[in-house]
């Protein structure tokens, strides 16, 4: 998984415990300032103040990314920055890369000290939360360019655009044509995906043969953001959802509706009947490649390793339709401008420069992800219309339901992950979902519904 798009919202920093309210805030700022001063002193490279102008020289714009240790994407971003710096003399963008695991906490700590960089990348489901918290500034005057982007790569909140991304990833039911043939299972297409019943019948058939350890693998061994990213689309395909999207206030009657209970019952049955492992291994794609499972609920990132082994035999089937159409999640890493930027005009100029199709193509190509624009897709081998990976782009276009774009999402994500895990472990579906709804609604109310 090159960019690991689905595990973004995880732990956030301890130092942020020291937030808000008079004295506490002061103490917090002093402490964080001291910590930042130490960091700055420790690595002389990192000590850039956002948007400062060296006497006479260009204005320096700092940029943070989560891509340290992720060569492909970091290289692509750096080459865009180099081209931008060479294209004009007014601004100089300076990249600082963080390891993904500590990226969010660095941003949260920097925000408390009002030391955010000018430009930063944000995991899409965090955008609404960070925009609400005042970390991110809305982007103006880019609607024309971004109208050509896949909607799932343009992060909006409250009617304003806060970030855009170069690529998306898509979920798919990975299997092999030869398996479908052997067990006499219909090969699905975008026009005619499997129905829920058809899919379950297929699993039962494969199970009866005893040829595989498990008929399917849903990657239940992963933790964190994978759970809402991977399984809330199935919930939505059953006709339920994480929160009522008419006003984003309550989950009552949505996450605990009859349809949600039907989803939970189905999900629980998968594990109970040993149709999927209750806890998958750390690398379910490897298990699939090794013939331990016949179907793999995973994403476009598995294309390389599975094709390497099975070639054209691999089939990326659309998600089964459980009544409300096939669904996949959307949104990956996106770029935005912070509110601490000393030169917002410069940051905006970079954002416009970097949104060009050729850069979309470059980043998508180097990360093996779905390019967000049609023009870029034509330039990325495999993603051109009719190309081997074009199917993922079509899934993204047709089936995407975004994870709810509301500041309450990070909390909803943890509750959904927990309730799904509990359901898989055998909890009573209805009462588990009721409890999750109660917790989500309490959090919504405690935050005055994020108004």
């Amino acid at each position: 998984m090159p960019s690991d798009p689905v595990r973004g919202v995880r732990t956030i920093d301890a130092s942020e415990e020291l937030v808000k309210s008079g004295l506490i805030k002061k103490l917090a700022t002093v402490g964080l300032a001291a910590a930042l001063a130490l960091t700055a002193a420790a690595c002389s490279k990192g000590g850039t103040t956002p948007g400062t102008q060296a006497a006479g020289g260009p204005v320096e714009l700092s940029m943070w990314t989560h891509n340290a240790g992720n060569k492909g994407e970091l290289g692509a971003i750096e080459s865009i920055v180099t081209e931008f710096n060479a294209s004009q003399t007014k601004y100089q963008v300076k990249v600082q890369a963080f390891p993904q695991d500590s990226y969010n906490q660095s941003v949260v700590a920097a925000a408390a000290a009002k030391k955010l960089p000018c430009i930063l990348d944000i995991d899409q489901p965090n955008v609404a939360n960070w925009a609400w918290a005042g970390y991110l500034a809305p982007m103006e005057g880019m609607d024309d360019v971004l109208s050509k982007y896949l909607p799932s790569t343009v992060a909006k909140w409250n009617g304003k655009t806060y970030a855009y991304g170069y690529y998306d990833v898509s979920l798919a039911m990975v299997t092999r044509k030869s398996i479908l043939k052997k067990y006499d299972i219909r090969e699905p297409s975008i026009d005619q995906p499997w129905t829920g019943d058809e899919f379950m019948a297929a699993l039962e058939k494969v199970k009866a043969s005893g040829d595989f350890d498990y008929p399917a693998d849903f990657a239940t061994g992963w933790t964190g953001e994978w759970w809402p990213y991977g399984y809330s689309p199935q919930l939505q395909s059953f006709g339920a959802d994480l929160i009522n999207r008419s006003d984003y206030k309550s989950a009552e009657g949505v996450l605990n509706s009859d349809k949600a209970v039907a989803w939970a019952t189905w999900f629980q049955k998968l594990a109970k009947d040993k149709l999927i492992p209750k806890k998958s291994s750390a690398d379910p794609a490897l298990d699939f490649v090794n013939g331990k499972s016949a179907f793999l609920w995973n994403g476009s990132w598995t294309a390389i390793s599975t094709r390497e082994k099975f070639g054209d035999d691999v089939l990326f089937a659309p998600p089964p339709d459980f009544g409300n159409g096939p669904k996949v999640g959307g949104g990956s890493w996106t770029w935005g401008i912070s509110t601490n930027c000393g030169d917002a005009a410069g940051a905006a100029e970079y954002m416009k420069f970097a949104a060009a199709d050729k850069y979309v193509a470059k980043v998508a190509k180097d990360t093996n992800n779905i390019p967000t624009t049609d023009a870029a897709a034509a330039q990325v081998p495999g993603f051109e219309p009719g190309g081997a990976n074009d199917i993922f782009r079509q899934f993204s276009k047709k089936y995407t339901t975004m994870r709810p774009e509301t500041p309450g999402y990070p909390f909803i994500a943890t509750e959904f992950a927990k309730v799904s895990q509990d359901i898989l472990a055998g909890a009573d579906p209805k009462s588990a979902l009721d409890q999750a709804v109660k917790n989500i609604d309490a959090n919504q109310a405690a935050n005055n519904y994020f108004q």
Binding site: R10, E16, E17, S21, V108
Partner: protein
């Protein structure tokens, strides 16, 4: 251990002329304060201030990420906490974990210590082997045991040889906590073995010699010489194991994330989850505060029960 340190200054004092001591007292005090400073600052910044903040934040609705300033909300957090079934589950798990692991871990560590204290060749090798898990990172140990506990993992394969069908250790609410206890005891046992060992080695050989002259069996020697001689060590071990048992977190975070069905959720795990993943700083502070009171109470009770009764006379 503590008796020997108490004796040393007394023995050393008479060699120094008392006059000189009082003369340099002032500057010595300053040097002392100076030497205390680095540790003092660290304690202040990383211990006292955070504890103070926890007390304050526990009564507010502070959030990790929010544009709205924190408000004082009285004891709302505590009411919510005491009404939460996850909290009671976590508290029960924590207590069960502590109650089981204290005797198991200290008992096994004592057996190991007695074994490696024997005057035979090669004890150093065993000491090293038993101590290895302690110097291994808990994260690594947790990962390894996670593999061993899998349905088709090492442990179940061994059990299968014996004709027993092993459970899904970490996936079954009935066995998950038990599995964590075994693994935790195994990991930390070596550390307490060393502490016991240091205690064993403070017991004078003369006592054993006298006991064997009186015709005491090895078992009688253990009960009448070794056990009373380990009194101080026992107190230390009891308190350290209890406190570390209460702060159970790493294993849970890596191996089970509190599941299945909250069967391995602990108070600290719940605090971290609500504080960071769920961004509820105020509520997490309330959990931490309850945890603080709990550990304090347990330590005080232990101190009282294991106090040196002779001192009162």
């Amino acid at each position: 251990m503590s008796t020997s340190t108490a004796v040393l200054p007394k023995a050393a004092a008479p060699t120094k002329p008392p006059k000189k001591l009082s003369g340099s007292g002032h500057s010595q005090g300053r040097v002392g304060a100076l030497m205390l400073l680095p540790a003092g600052i660290l304690m202040l910044v990383f211990l006292l201030i955070p504890i103070g903040l926890t007390f304050l934040l526990a009564f507010t609705n502070a959030r990790l990420i929010s544009p709205v300033p924190a408000k004082f909300i009285g004891v709302d957090n505590f009411i919510r906490l005491f009404e939460s079934s996850t909290f009671w589950k976590s508290l029960t798990n924590t207590i069960v974990f502590a109650v089981v692991i204290v005797p198991v871990q200290s008992g096994l560590a004592l057996i190991l210590a007695v074994l490696v204290n024997a005057k035979v060749r090669g004890t150093n090798i065993f000491r090293t082997i038993y101590f290895l898990p302690v110097v291994t990172s808990m994260v690594v140990v947790s990962m390894l045991w996670m593999f061993m506990y899998q349905q088709e993992g090492l442990i179940n394969s061994v059990l299968a040889r014996l004709g027993i069908i092993g459970p899904d250790w970490l996936g079954d609410p009935n066995t998950a906590l038990f599995a964590l206890i075994i693994m935790s005891a195994w990991q930390a046992m070596g550390f307490h073995m060393v502490i016991w060992l240091s205690g064993l080695q403070t017991i004078s050989g003369d006592l054993y010699e006298a006991a064997s002259l009186d015709g005491a069996s090895p078992w009688q020697q253990f009960w009448n010489v070794t056990w009373p001689g380990l009194k101080q060590t026992r107190t230390f071990i009891l308190i350290t194991i209890t406190i570390s048992a209460f702060s159970l977190f790493t294993q849970v975070n890596i191996m089970t994330q509190g599941g299945p069905l909250d069967s391995t959720s602990t108070v600290v795990f719940q605090a971290v989850r609500t504080g960071f993943q769920q961004q509820q700083t105020g509520y997490a502070s309330a959990i931490s505060l309850v945890f603080f009171v709990l550990v304090l109470a347990v330590s005080l009770v232990q101190r009282y029960l294991t106090r040196d009764k002779d001192l009162g006379k």
